[in-house]
């Protein structure tokens, strides 16, 4: 028992260090291009002779093979990001009832003599396609009630359970 304050102090110090370490990794607030908000890096590939077909809207065969080798879904269409040189959006076709038939999936960027392939985060679809898919202008509301409907149903159930528990514990008048 004597060493307890010392151990606690050491643990608090470690926890503080952990928090500082984590806070260092948080991206700048409001940066629309920060990795957690926009994309995840998948792989990079040599850029030689790939740039021209991409600019013409054709997916080169060895890029396609690379996607298949790594087990990612193969893209169906590619187009240049408007106003940017050396950046391409790649679309993947999907078979979902009532939804758009293709999704903006990969983001290819030329860095040096390599092509970096990124996967767009879900947030990108949330922001760009949300209003068109749900017909609701408020981003928070369609997130809460539609995309994350299961989550909200669970939250409401939690509130309901809390109320019923209070009724069972405190109400002692023989009737509900």
């Amino acid at each position: 028992m004597k060493g307890l304050p010392t151990i606690t102090l050491i643990l608090i110090g470690l926890l503080c260090a952990l928090f500082i370490y984590v806070a260092e990794d948080i991206p700048v607030f409001g940066d629309p291009n920060s990795p957690p908000i926009k994309y995840v890096k998948l792989f990079s590939i040599d850029a030689d002779a790939l740039e021209d077909p991409l600019n013409r809207g054709v997916i080169p065969n060895n890029l396609m093979d690379e996607f298949e080798r790594r087990g990612f879904p193969g893209p169906s269409r590619v187009e240049k990001v408007t106003g940017m040189e050396g950046e391409w959006n790649t679309f993947v076709s999907k078979e979902e009832m009532h939804y758009s038939k293709e999704e903006k999936y990969y983001w290819i960027k030329k860095e040096g003599d390599k092509l970096r392939v990124y996967r767009y985060a879900f947030v990108v679809r949330w922001i760009e396609k949300g209003q068109e898919e749900t017909g609701t202008p408020n981003m928070v509301t369609y997130g809460l009630a539609d995309y994350r409907g299961y989550d909200t149903l669970g939250e409401t159930a939690v509130i309901f359970t809390a109320g019923v528990s209070v009724i069972l514990l405190l109400r002692r008048r023989g009737r509900l």
């Binding site: 408020n138 109320g163 009724i167 405190l170 002692r172």
Partner: protein
């Protein structure tokens, strides 16, 4: 001891008599405008429940219970959750074999998939609002009753 009541202020009573309907109206505004502005079911429900809390604080708890009886309160607290989960169940039935739980687009309100989702979001928000309001009020009344009962037994 019995005749000793807390002093009642005529100013507070009059002001809250005027305020309570507007608080309730504002909470309905918050719920209805959840889809197009800031707001939603949780916030609107809590504001609506707070109007009952104000009534009980200013007037008396017996009158508050008469305004919102226990039976109605209990039914309302589960009704909101029923609306929410029931919409999801309707989606399963109406999506005919695809089993899309909580995919509101399959509900036949309008011929358009997106507008069905927009409309159903409103219903879901109302369900959340009803449950949150009823549970808030229910918890408040239970805590407040307990206090009175204990005092009565000590006497």
């Amino acid at each position: 001891m019995k005749g000793k009541e807390a002093e009642r202020s005529i100013i507070v009573e009059t002001v809250s008599r005027v305020m309570i309907p507007f608080i309730q109206l504002f909470s309905l505004y918050v719920i209805i405008h959840g889809a197009s502005g800031p707001g939603g079911g949780f916030q609107g429900g809590v504001v609506f429940g707070s109007s009952f809390v104000l009534y009980v604080v200013v007037f008396d708890i017996i009158g508050g219970r008469k305004r919102l009886p226990e039976s109605v309160n209990t039914v309302l607290s589960s009704l909101g959750l029923y609306i929410y989960a029931g919409l999801g169940l309707l989606c399963i039935i109406l999506s005919s074999g695809v089993a899309q739980y909580l995919n509101y687009g399959f509900l036949p309100f309008t011929p358009h998939f997106e507008e069905n989702r927009a409309l159903s979001i409103e219903f879901v928000e109302m369900g959340i609002g009803i449950t949150v309001m009823a549970i808030m009020v229910s918890i408040f009344f239970d805590l407040a009753w307990k206090e009175k009962n204990r005092k009565g037994r000590e006497k």
